[in-house]
Amino acid sequence: MSAPVLEVADLRVRLETPRGPAHVVDGLDYAVGAGETVAIVGESGSGKSVSVLALLGLLPASATVTGTASFGGRDLLAMSEAELRGVRGNGIGMVFQDPMTSLNPVLSVGRQLTEGLLAHGVVTGRAAARARAADLLADVGLPDPRGALERYPHELSGGMRQRVVIAIALAGEPRLLVADEATTALDVTVQAQIVDLVTRLQAEHGTAVVWITHDLGVVAGIADRVLVMYGGRCVEDGGVDDVFDAPAHPYTRGLLGALPARVDAQRGPGRRAPDLVAIAGTPPPPTELPRGCVFWPRCPVRGDVRCETEQPPLVRVGGTDPRPHRAATFYGREIP
């Protein structure tokens, strides 16, 4: 792996809430190599979206963000707002969850595409911006790209809107694309089209992708590496095959057990399909994280005396050196 595009170390995000400080992200490390796809998975509220919004300074001002996030040799978290603005939409593009709400309903598609191009000086002049915008729309597979510039978001279908959002994210030819639940709000068939589109664009432009999702099916299909978040912490990470074939953390095992495709694969001829396993309980609120392992209250195999009082460190349980497979549990077999 060449020098990583993005290297995040000890990222912590604290939000002030009426019920006290919430440690939404609690010490996160990860790296994204050039052209690589890293999936961050977890349930709602696990801190996965916050962990990338924090990098671009897109959280409310009341959030406290610490740690380092090296992007192109510079620390995003140490940048001023003006410097960050130069990175947003230029070095890093973002695609959001719901294309029904992430586009401005009263501005035309062309306007929403060109304003980023003009702000970053990618092109100069309206005409050049519109020509470039039409190219971008053609690139994301919008029929009649020139005509689409005049359309408003409500005139487009959900899938088409998400293509527009992707075009906006790619406008500055970013080295990193962050897709925050980019397929969650879409129909299943459209989801597949959007995944294919991002994969194709990634191959064409060599863009690195951070794909935030709770859809493990998508992860299996596109990710090189996967990072499993729970309660604001990384509980397991590694190459996607390593993690899917030999999940080490009880939470990851639970997630994979709850995936219908995996259940299908295990079904042999003549055997009854096992029931879909749901993980009992709900994630802890970020204001009341347990002292020990974050997953301890819901863990089906807990029992080690340390679980309740000690945070299990993230240790290597497999994989090979540049890409270790790590898990934070007292129940994995540590490989030194």
């Binding site: 603005r85 501005l107 702000a119 959002v165």
Partner: protein, 313 residues
């Protein structure tokens, strides 16, 4: 004109017909004989009958209504009982003063509301927000006449910067017109502005929390571009509606303020018509207010269609 505009215009016509009926009925339901009032205490039966006949009051009500509305369509609202002048002329004479005051007030209101409401929304619970709340609470709760009198005492009396009352037509003296307009416009503008400040604050707050604002920031747009194109542009939509209603209210004559400032507007005229039981004048004034209201609402809706592409479709 689009189908949307035609539909709205047709709706307005139907409403206007209903309003004219209501105005007519209401005026005729009010007890008191206008002819008797107009003639004073001493008169003979022949004069009384003649005047009733001239005003058409001896005819059955439906015929009176048809005659009135038929004239109104052609711009003839009848003749005032009191002065004997055509109602249309009386109203037109008062219109410039009222228009000046209404437009002046709405300008003052927007100059207060948009900056103060936006600043409050950008920094909730800050000092600016606190100031906005206090100012708008005062504006809403203090009676207009008292505010007007206080302004007169301070700016016309003590400081002598502006005249205490009276209206100078624009055509005669533009500088004098502006000078005479300041105090009454500020008085009514403060009240309208208070309502609009609260409204601006909540619309901007709502627009700020919209997800497309995050998209705009993620594009790398500067704070000014985000605020103007992705927050205010969207917050403007509900504000246009409320501003339209405020303007209609101001155009219908702000009676109390007009009296405090000796402002020869439609509010004063309407009040005089009520006092004198001057049916034709009262009917004309109320009908005009209704037309103003409907036209403004129609205008707001059409403007809305231009501002919000989801509506015009």
């Amino acid at each position: 004109m689009s189908g949307f505009a035609l539909r709205r215009a047709a709706q307005s016509l139907v409403v206007l017909l209903g309003v004219s009926l209501a105005v007519f009925a209401l005026v005729h339901l009010v007890p008191g004989d206008p002819v008797r009032l107009a003639l004073g205490t001493r008169f003979d039966q022949a004069t009384y009958d003649a005047l009733r006949e001239r005003a058409g009051l001896d005819q059955p009500l439906p015929a009176q209504y048809l005659q009135w509305i038929g004239g109104a369509v052609r711009g003839d609202l009848g003749v005032s009982f009191r002065s004997g002048e055509p109602v249309t002329a009386l109203i037109l004479e008062r219109l410039p003063a009222t228009l000046s005051l209404a437009l002046g007030s709405i300008v003052v209101a927007l100059l207060i509301a948009v900056p103060l409401g936006t600043a409050s929304a950008l920094r909730p619970r800050s000092a600016v927000d606190g100031l906005g709340t206090v100012v708008s609470q005062i504006g809403i709760s203090v009676p207009e006449f008292w505010m007007g009198i206080m302004l007169i005492l301070l700016f016309a009396g003590t400081l002598g910067w502006f005249p205490a009352g009276g209206y100078v037509p624009f055509a005669r003296d533009p500088a004098g017109w502006l000078h005479s307009l300041v105090l009454p416009a500020v008085t009514t503008g403060l009240v309208s502005g208070s309502v609009l400040t609260r409204f601006t604050r909540s619309s901007v707050l709502e627009a700020l929390s919209a997800e497309h604002v995050r998209t705009a920031r993620a594009k790398g747009l500067g704070p000014r571009a985000v605020l103007s194109w992705h927050v205010l542009r969207n917050a403007m939509l509900p504000l246009v509606t409320v501003t339209g209603v405020q303007l209609a209210y101001l155009l219908s004559g702000v009676v109390v303020v007009e009296i405090v400032f000796a402002w020869p507007g439609l509010g004063q005229l309407a009040l005089q018509a009520v006092e004198a039981r001057d049916y034709p004048l009262l009917q004309g004034a109320v009908l005009l207010f209704a037309v103003v209201f409907l036209l403004l609402n129609l205008g707001v809706d059409l403007l809305y269609g231009r501002l919000d592409p989801r509506i015009a479709a």
